[in-house]
Symmetry: C2
Amino acid sequence: MLIKNIRYIVTMDPQRRLIKDGAIFIEDNKIIDVGKNEIYKKYKTDDVIDAKGMVAMPGLIKAHTHSPMTLMRGYIDDLPLIEWLQKLWTFEAKLKPEDCYYGSLLACLEMISFGITTFSDMYLYPNEILKAVEKSGLRAMVSPLIFEKINKDCNLRNARKFLKKKTERVTPALGPHATYTCSKEELIGVANLAEEKDVFIHTHVSETQNEVKQIKEKYGTNPVEFLNSVGLLTDKTILVHAIWVTDKEIKLIAKTGAKIVHCPIANMKLASGVAPVHKMKNITVSIGSDGPSSNNNLDMFEEMKAAALIHKINNLDPTLIPSNYALEMATINGAKTLGLNDTGSLEPGKKADLILIDFRKPHLTPLYNPVSHLVYSCNGGDVDTTICNGEILMKNRKFVLDAGKIMKKVEEIKEDLLKR
Amino acid sequence: MLIKNIRYIVTMDPQRRLIKDGAIFIEDNKIIDVGKNEIYKKYKTDDVIDAKGMVAMPGLIKAHTHSPMTLMRGYIDDLPLIEWLQKLWTFEAKLKPEDCYYGSLLACLEMISFGITTFSDMYLYPNEILKAVEKSGLRAMVSPLIFEKINKDCNLRNARKFLKKKTERVTPALGPHATYTCSKEELIGVANLAEEKDVFIHTHVSETQNEVKQIKEKYGTNPVEFLNSVGLLTDKTILVHAIWVTDKEIKLIAKTGAKIVHCPIANMKLASGVAPVHKMKNITVSIGSDGPSSNNNLDMFEEMKAAALIHKINNLDPTLIPSNYALEMATINGAKTLGLNDTGSLEPGKKADLILIDFRKPHLTPLYNPVSHLVYSCNGGDVDTTICNGEILMKNRKFVLDAGKIMKKVEEIKEDLLKR
């Protein structure tokens, strides 16, 4: 596939970030060439996309979500945390595997519409999520939730089985929910299994002040230090939220090479707190959205803008998290976080995961700096074309999947859930 | 015009907020009827819009912007305030009247694309802005900037002349820039002129801590108290930002009936501070975006979401600024702020300013509560149809204006400005 006449390529390759008037050549699922438009003459193919007026960039990488929670999108907002959680748990208790398949498939559809090509998921019924990812054409890391005392099926034995299910586009990992919901023995079991199978660990940490208080009372240490004490802090550990972390914990994370996923909108909506991202030097920080019940969409453009804004206002410093860094968090840092180092930038040899954004719009005019527009002016609806693993999943905003059918099915599931 | 088969009408009429399966009948520039879908049988017309799958709501009202600043969109970001202002002023000094006409017209186009039907502007060359508004079909309050010591043409005499230019859709007002940029005599002159002509006053106040310090040093009072002392605090005063206001000043604003415009995204991007909106009981608070150089778009959906989020996180209270209130700020409160009481809600007798939003999208599925989706899930690109004063300005996202021509012209102006 040849994509030519691209207005700007935002490569996220540190060697040459921007290419004005560019072209990209793809063969099978790989990027073969990225350069000035003239390179198109080298390649003979009938499979050509004319990207006039468009900006090309790597597919966005959402490093944390709970995709089936689209089923609760807009069901509960603006409530005190305890009340919100109780309503959520009551609703979740009704979920069947098929519900999660369709909820996840709807999330995949939404992510395709917003230019996300890779996401990292952690939820109930991981086999259903895997099935939805396979159907959608996206790339994902899928982590079965582990917290046996809360849900007996979310145990280490089932997680171990799931690790065997690796596919070309799906990487299984382990998803211990958090230090306050897993037992110490369970967390040690996760650490051992992760080492044995050489897989990633995906966990929530230090999301609320109350959680930190609980762990301190129970174990006498802060949550990140506790994770370290049970062998769960390695360069394959993905820590989600990391809001109420001390400077000492930040150093510990940097030292071990663990990664952090920042979820600015969900953290604002649930009033959890603001992660000290500006202090997280020498740590790979990427962006997630959390579940669509605490956001309420999966748009990474909104999330990048929120990440760029919240640290400025929280520290009264307009220079923090500049647009370049926000874009890195949402692309190349996402790839590093998930260990998918052949994604996250547009470079020859990398996987063909890329998107085209139509800049011929009033809110993207005039154009001084494409990176500024991507972070501060775009929304997910500006994505015209989404390509993952060399396959077109959306073009001219038309999906390959039958979107109408999936949306109808999810509305039916919602009606049924309300009656259960 | 008859709009039928509407999935939900979000009326913003406090008497009956939501109508499921509705229809709206419009004659000339007025709403005649709003009700259940069956009402369509009463009206004979060939001018019918089938709004299947859509949500109808009042056109959004942006209560503060500087529309020609689209010309500087993405030109400068992430800089210390002083450096940012210096670059901005250097750029602004090059602007000619025609530049501002096209900059403002581009802003109108963007606002139409995002479902805004009324905006309030304050900038240089108000005659050019008026011309752009007239051309666009939108409704606006236009305030000539007044700060003679900074720009000699921005004086009271010119402002007085501009007040005569009222049209069907344009309401002139007075735009004294701020307490630190206007002289005391100038502000007294504005107060007298506003009283004489019975017009609104549109001014920035207490945006930065430094501004408050300056006014305290110069006049011995806080900015809002100072405005009151020169007769500038009335029920026709529109105060923009109001970030660093004391509880005493909030009480004073409530007592005088002055209005407040909250600009959450610009306040975050410039790291100005967070206005204590949750304390502003008994005050009409609406939403603005400030200029597109400090935002960088004019999307009111982003702005509503930001307003709903920032107070939650800033006060660690997830119940603050619920979605209903964010939507009120962006519609009916905007109308009250600008004294345009025949807009801001869908009620018989009001002006036909309304939008249709296509909810047949993955990120707006499933649907429990349309208000939640409007605030937490939508973006401006979801607006399908924009109608102002009974005229269709966009339908199926196709503009009536020649968008390509306007965008091309603005790109040319940008290129020229970079060479001047």
